[in-house]
C-alpha cells in the first residue's frame, strides 16, 4: 500500500514538471486550431464573450444560469481546452464555494445554504468557462487581431502574441536552472515528516534563488530578440495605419459565425422563456 502511495505521488510529481506545464501552455495556445470554436471570427466571439462574461453577474434566476452554464460547457468541450486549464478551473471554482459551504455548516447552517451557494457557483463557473472558451479556444493571433479591430492598441495585441511566444522559453529556462540545482544541490532527506517539511522549505528556497539566473539568462537571450524585432520592422508597424488594415483584412464573418450567434441567442431565449414559466 505504501509502495503504491509513493508510486502515485511520484507520478503526480512527474506529471507536474515544468516540461508538462510548458507543453500544456503550448497546447492551450496553439494545439487546438482545428476546432469549431477556433474557426469562428474573433470579433464575433468577443461579442459573445461580453454577453456571457457580464450578464450572469446581474441575474439570479437559477434556471437561466443553469442554461447559460450548460451552453458554455458545450462550447468549452468544443474548444478542446487543455486538461490543466480545466483542472485549475474546477479547483478554483469549487474550492471557493465548497469552502463557503463548509464554513456555513461549521457555524450552524444547514442544507438550506445550498441553493444560494449554487447560484454563486453557477455564476462564477459560467463566466470562467466563457473566458476559457474564448481565450484558450482562439489562438493568440486571432484573439489579438479581434481586439485590434475593436481599437485596442497594436502594442497590446503584439504583447499577447509575444507573451505566448516567450512563455515556453521562460519556462524552458526555468526548467534548466531547476535542473542545475537538482544536479548539484543537496536536498534534505525526506523520509520522515520533519524531513518532508524541510524538503518543502528547501524547494521553495530553490525556486526563489532560481529567479536571479532565470532573469539574467532570459535577458541575455532577449537581447537578440529586441534587435531582431527592430530589424524586422516592429516599430514601423506600430505606427503604420496600412499595416493594421492589411492585418485586419484577413478577418471575415462567415455563415458559421452567424449560426453560432443565432444558436446561442436561441438557447438564451429558451432559458428566459423557461425561467418565466417556472
Amino acid at each position: 500500500m505504501e509502495h503504491m502511495m509513493s508510486k502515485l505521488s511520484e507520478s503526480i510529481l512527474d506529471k507536474f514538471s515544468m516540461d508538462f506545464l510548458r507543453s500544456q501552455v503550448l497546447k492551450n495556445a496553439y494545439g487546438n486550431d482545428d476546432t469549431v470554436i477556433a474557426a469562428l471570427d474573433p470579433r464575433i466571439l468577443i461579442v459573445w464573450y461580453l454577453f456571457f462574461g457580464v450578464v450572469p453577474w446581474f441575474v439570479n434566476d437559477l434556471s437561466f444560469l443553469l442554461g447559460c452554464f450548460l451552453l458554455v460547457m458545450v462550447t468549452t468541450l468544443l474548444a478542446h481546452v487543455a486538461g490543466l486549464v480545466l483542472f485549475l478551473f474546477a479547483l478554483g471554482v469549487f474550492s471557493q464555494t465548497g469552502y463557503l459551504f463548509l464554513a456555513t455548516l461549521l457555524f450552524g447552517g444547514d442544507a438550506s445554504a445550498i441553493p444560494p451557494l449554487l447560484v454563486l457557483t453557477l455564476k462564477v463557473a459560467t463566466i470562467s468557462l466563457a473566458s476559457v472558451t474564448v481565450f484558450s479556444g482562439l489562438d493568440p493571433d486571432r484573439l489579438s487581431n479581434g481586439l485590434m479591430w475593436y481599437g485596442c492598441p497594436e502594442r497590446l495585441s503584439f504583447s499577447i502574441c509575444y507573451a505566448y511566444r516567450m512563455l515556453p522559453m521562460l519556462m524552458e529556462e526555468f526548467q534548466n536552472v531547476l535542473l542545475s540545482y537538482r544536479l548539484r544541490g543537496n536536498p534534505p532527506a525526506h523520509d520522515t515528516l520533519w524531513g518532508k517539511v524541510r524538503y518543502l522549505i528547501y524547494q521553495v528556497k530553490i525556486i526563489m534563488e532560481s529567479f536571479y539566473p532565470l532573469m539574467l539568462n532570459t535577458a541575455k537571450r532577449s537581447r537578440t530578440t529586441v534587435e531582431a524585432l527592430e530589424l524586422r520592422g516592429y516599430r514601423y508597424a506600430a505606427v503604420n495605419k496600412t499595416v493594421k488594415k492589411i492585418k485586419l483584412s484577413a478577418l471575415k464573418v462567415s455563415y458559421n459565425d452567424l449560426l453560432f450567434l443565432a444558436l446561442s441567442a436561441l438557447w438564451v431565449a429558451l432559458c428566459i422563456f423557461c425561467s418565466t414559466l417556472f
Binding site: 512527474d14 507543453s23 496553439y30 535542473l179 548539484r184 496600412t242
Partner: protein, 564 residues
Amino acid sequence: MNAVEINGLTYSYPGAALPTLTDISLRIEKGDFLAVVGNNGCGKSTLCKVLNGLIPHFITGEFQGEVRVGGASTLDSDVGTLAQKVGYVYQDFENQIVRPTVLDDASYACLNYAFPDYLERGKKALCQCGLEGREEEYIWQLSGGQTHLLALAGAVSLSPDVLILDEPIAQLDPMHADRIYEVLRELNQKHGKTIVVIEHHTEYIADYCRHVLLMKDGQVQWLLPTGEALQHVAELEACNIFPPQVTQAAYRLQKEGKLPSGAPLPTTVEEGRAAFSALRCRLGAAPAPAPRPAGQRAVSFQDVSLSYRSVKGEPRTIFDGLNLDIRKGEKVALIGSNGAGKSTLMKLMVGLLRPQSGTISLFDEPIGAKKAEDLSRQISLVYQNPEEMFIKDSIRADISYAMQVRGLPDWQARTDALLERFQLIKLQDRDGRLMSGGQMRRASLAIGVALEPGILLLDEPTANLDIATRREIVGVLEDMKDIIQTAVIATHDMQLVCQWAERIIVLRGGRVVADGTRDEIFARQDLVDLVGIRPPEIFSMARALDPQALCYTVEEFTNCFQEA
C-alpha cells in the same frame, strides 16, 4: 559595382575605452560570397552590425568614418530602409524568430513594412530557402537546421541585396550544415545576392566562399580570393584559424621538403588528389589501440523506452527498448544527426529524465534506488549551453556550490585548486554569463568535475568554439584523466571524435546503429551514407589517394604518406 563600401571606419561601444573597430576601409563586390574570419573578439560581429545600421542607429557609441550599402550611407538611412537592403541572421538564430508558425514568421517583416503581398513574399522566401511545404507548421516542430533556414527566410523575404550570417553552422550536424551552404550558394548564384558569413570552418570556406577577409584586433588584415587566402597558413594559425586539414598537411609536407615548395597548397580534397599524387601510402593503417579488458559496467541501459509528450497528436518515441553498456575507463563518443537522441540519452544517465520502462544502472545499481547525492558524486553532466550551468552570481560561487552544500571539509581549498587548474583565478568573481565562449566552457567544465565524478558526460563541448579553444578543451580532458575514468561526449565534431574517442556509438532515431572503434565506424561507407556523419577531411583525403589508408589526423597523414 560594390555592394558595400567602408571608408575609414572607427567605432567604440558606449563606455568602452578602446575602439572595437579601427580605421577600416573595405569594398565588397556585388554578388560576392565572402567569409569573415578572425580570432574571438576581433570585431567580426561588430563589423556586420555596422553594415545593417544597428550600429549606430540602435546601438550608439562613437562612430567615425563612412559606411555605404548599395550606394547609400548608413548614417543617412534608418534601420528600416537598411533592413530591406541587408538581411542578418544571428548566431543565436532561434531568438530571432518571433511568430508561432513558419509562414507567419517568414512574412512578418514584409507585413511590418506594409507590403500588401506579404504572404507571397514569405512563401517565395521559404521556397528559396528550401522550406516549401512547411508553411503551416509550428516553429517548435522544426529541427535546428530548419529553424536556421527559417531565420534565413525571414531575412530573405525582404529581398535584400546583402545577406549576413553569423556562424551559420556552429550548432548543426554536417548534413544540415551542407544544406545551409547549398541554400546560400543558390541564393548567391541564382538570385545574385551578396553573401557575408562569419565562419571558422575553413573546409566550408574552401568549398563555398569566393573571398576571405581576415580581421585582427579590430582591423582588416587582408581581403583575398579564397584559394590565395588559405595559403597564408602561418598567418591564419596565428589568429587561431586553422586552414582545411588538406592544406595543413600539404603545408607541413612542404616544410619537410616532401612536396616541392612554391607550388600552391591544395584547399579541397579534389585539389589534394593532384597535389599529393606523387606520394604513396608507406605505412599500413595506424595500429588500432589494443582492446582493453572489459572493465566493470559503469552505465547500463536495459530495455529502456522513453517518449515525449507532443503538443499535438501521439507522444513522440525517442527510445524503444534500448540496450547499451558503457564500461569503466572507456572514452566514448556519441554521434548522430540533430535529434537522434544524444542529449536525451545523457539526461537519462544522470536521472534528469526517467524512462517509461526499463532500467538504467550505474555501477550495476539501478539509479532509481540511488540517492540524488550519491548519483551526483558518480556522474556529472556538462550542458551544451554553459550559461545554463551558472546559478550563482560568480564563477567561484558556482564551482564551490555543490561541494559547499555537501559540507565537504576542504571545499574552499578544492575550489581554489579547480580555479587554478582551469585558469579562472582572475575571473573568479565575475558572473559566468558575461564571459567569452571559451571562458564559459572552461568554467562549466570546472563546475562539472567539482565533485570528482567517476563518469563525466559532455554535451557538445566544442560547439561555438574556435579551434584554439577547442584544443584547450581537449587538453583539459587529457589533463583530468586521473579524476575522470569514464567520459562520454556527444558531438558533431568529427576531428574531436577521431583525436580523442576510443569507442564510437552511432545513434539514429533512438537506436544504436553502430558501435566500435573509429576504424570500424568510418571505414563503413554504408554507415556514413545512412547517418550522414562525415569523417574528418584528412581521412577522406587519405582514402581518395589510397582506399586502404586510414588516417584520422594531420600528423597521421604526414607520417603515412611519403615520397614514392
